[in-house]
């Protein structure tokens, strides 16, 4: 496997940071990330298509574009071109029309990619009119659990949960979900960790519909949140990003997942989370600090069990939650440094700050889950 790495801005066009691939026509896929503004303007597309005429172009908008251990300036776009010796990739696209179709979108994407030599799937999506949890259930429903699925919900720079732009072989558009299948001699490694700790008493979600929680322990959800947040409650919903909810199904042994608060309704006293918070689930409030998040990021890359070697190139896709960025603030890049230190110069690291992450819990629990507040990494290389 060989990799090119490029950066684009309006003044200079596409510039190579790293070029290993001699014959650009053989490039299988490019991962391209940048802000919604530059994605929407689409001034970069034709030139990159001309450089890599046969490649699948995927990617999309971000709430912060990751390149190595930095977040690049908002006017830039980052691209990584992957050229395989023996492996192949395939792209599946689904349009988002109705939130109720989320489960079926997941199912259809996977069925389009199914094959005996399928090794890994990366999913990228816009989140408007899409239920992330249902999408993930759909992805899991139609696949052999040995095939790992990772990826995330693309973000955008306003960080207001607005439409994200998805790139899928043509100028970036909203309202689509894409999945990329990797086949043949591909080796994939993945890890996901948050660095958040739960606190306070164990509670029960007593009234909820989809991603809206009305009551926790029989009390209006917003009142409970305010009581516990104290002074910080004045800054809801923004302060809510700092206090996500850890939820789990008390009827099975699955690990808890984190849900990020997205909006509050002062009239209905309800809380709206990024994804489903089912009624009857147990819940705890969560907190973290900067060191906790950076340690979480380091655990995520170590979980991959990927050992970088000098004679093997690899691509690392990092998907990190926007909530982490808000807390880490000017220290955001520190959570990228620990990953970059681990993978070294032979692995190209790009990615995006997201509205949600998709990854299996661990090597043992391969079914993918919809996460919030995590750093999720996927390393793709060839045997």
């Amino acid at each position: 496997m060989k990799i090119d790495n490029l950066i684009w801005n309006l003044d200079k066009g596409w510039q190579f940071n790293k070029t290993e691939i001699e014959n650009k026509e053989n490039v299988a896929i490019l991962f391209i990330f940048g802000t919604a503004k530059v994605m929407k303007e689409n001034l970069f597309f034709n030139d990159i298509r001309n450089i890599y005429p046969n490649a699948i172009l995927v990617g999309g908008s971000s709430a912060g574009t990751i390149y190595e251990d930095e977040i690049v300036d908002e006017s830039h776009i980052i691209a990584s071109a992957l050229c395989f010796k023996k492996s192949k990739v395939k792209l599946a696209i689904e349009n988002i029309h109705d939130i109720k179709d989320s489960f079926n979108i997941g199912k259809r994407l996977v069925s389009k990619l199914s094959a005996d030599d399928l090794k890994h799937i990366i999913v990228l999506t816009d989140s408007i009119n899409l239920n992330g949890s249902m999408l993930v259930e759909g992805l899991n429903a139609n696949i052999d659990s040995e095939i790992p699925i990772s990826g995330g919900i693309l973000g955008e720079e306003t960080k207001t949960f607005a439409n994200a732009y998805v790139l899928a072989n043509k100028p970036a558009q909203t309202s689509i979900t894409i999945a990329i299948g990797f086949y043949g001699e591909i080796e994939s490694f993945y890890g996901s960790d948050s660095g958040w700790d739960d606190f306070g008493t164990e509670r029960v979600i007593t009234k909820s519909t989809g991603n809206i929680v009305y009551e926790i322990d029989g009390e209006p959800a917003l009142d409970l949140y305010k009581k516990y947040l104290g002074d910080l409650a004045d800054k809801l919903p923004a302060s809510g990003l700092r206090f996500p909810l850890n939820i789990w199904n008390p009827d099975n042994n699955e690990k808890p997942v984190i849900r990020t608060l997205m909006a509050v309704d002062e009239v209905k006293k309800s809380l709206t989370f990024v994804s489903d918070v089912p009624q009857g689930f147990k819940a705890k409030l969560m907190k973290t600090n900067i060191d906790g998040l950076i340690d979480g990021s380091e655990r995520a890359i170590q979980q991959t069990e990927f050992i970088p070697t000098e004679n093997k190139s690899a691509y690392c896709l990092a998907v990190s939650c926007i909530g982490r960025q808000l807390i880490l603030d000017q220290l955001t890049e520190e959570e990228l440094v620990v990953i970059d230190d681990y993978i070294g110069d032979n692995v190209e690291l790009t990615g995006f700050y997201s509205y949600g992450e998709i990854a299996p819990f661990s090597k043992e629990l391969k079914n993918c889950r919809f996460h919030n507040q995590t750093m999720t990494v996927t390393v793709i290389t060839e045997k």
């Binding site: 050992i307 230190d341 110069d345």
Partner: protein, 459 residues
Amino acid sequence: MHRLLKRQIKKSFGVKNLDELSPELINFINLIGKTYNTLDLDKKILENTISANTKELIELNTKIEIEADVRLKELIEQAPYGFIIIQSDGKIIEANQFACQVLGYSKKDVFLNLNANKLFEKFDRFSFSDILNLLSKNNKLSFDDSFQNKLINIPVEITAGKLIIKNVSHILIMFQDIIERVQSQKMKAQKTREIEELNKGLEEKIKQEVNKNLEKDQLLVQQSKMAAMGDMMGNIAHQWRQPLNTLAIAIQDVEEAYMFDDINEEYIQSFVKSAMENITYMSKTIDDFRNFFKPSKKKEPFKLRDSIENILQIISAQLENHNIKITLSGENYEVIGYPNEFKQVIINLTNNAKDAILENNISNGDISISIENHSARFRKILIKDNGGGVPKSIVNKIFEPYFTTKEGNKGTGIGLYMSKTIIEENMRGKLILKNINGGSIFMILIPTADQQERDLNCK
């Protein structure tokens, strides 16, 4: 008809007598007069009603006031606060039950026989004249005081203020027993002192525990070195076996050569040369051993490949003896750190690999060490073995101190812990273990000289 009205009508019509007007007009004027009288009566009735109502209201108000006064008096009488009203000449005109009881008098006594000057003699802080004096400057006073009642000193909080009753200025004294508050403050102070003492004790305890931990760490280092020394002794024994054997054969040969009269100058020279070569080799092994156990005092530049080769010279004989192949590849990158400690890590990790190979009875044991350029910030050493890998259940524990899977007293459980400490804490690098097919791999990241400098600047 009302006189005033008659006069006004005469004046308006310019007549001296109303009879001078026409009968219709007179009738009309009479009608107005009646209406006027009616209105006048109504006015009077209304005035009366208002007056009666007002009177009733006043009576009611008085009644309410009296009732309120009674209630207030009851309230004051039963309140858990002391109320005393004193005339400016010092005569106590009112006091509630609480005040009497707390001050040790029946109500009658207080009323009739006690002067405020006398009463305030019981208090510790102010006399009545002091209070009068202070109230001439302020409308209200609040202060803590105490008084003696049957050998008990009772702390009280006193509020004194001016009170006007029937236009005459009086002094209102209110007080409450604050014995519980004072006791709780005393208890709080006591608890605070206790906590402070406990904290002092805790600080001391923490210091002691930290020192104990330091001692433990030092002991760990020492134990680790001793364990490594044991391994090294084994290695030296292997290294010396061959030259000792050669020397023994040569010495036995001297005896035989003497018997067969073969000893001449040439024989002696050859004997001395061979013996000295072997002795020099043995001496060099001892030097390597000694250098290894000399702790590095400060960070210094050293070359990764040279250091590892140095170790391989010492350990390779023992590995060969176990039929374990060890190879080294990669550039001789220079890094900055503690070279002898680094060597100790390489010994620990290769020993770990060797033990895994032996425990799992791997016939073609293979340990490969490669040195790679990881990034601008780090150089990388990969130590890979085919010893079967680490069971998943313990993979997260192997760097914990005193954790060992080795039987009996073969393992101390500190080798990998010390290795991680040396690489990550002392040299600011990373030591990671991963399972691979049929074995495991240790990845060591050592900061480059540039990175070390950056780390120092960041401190």
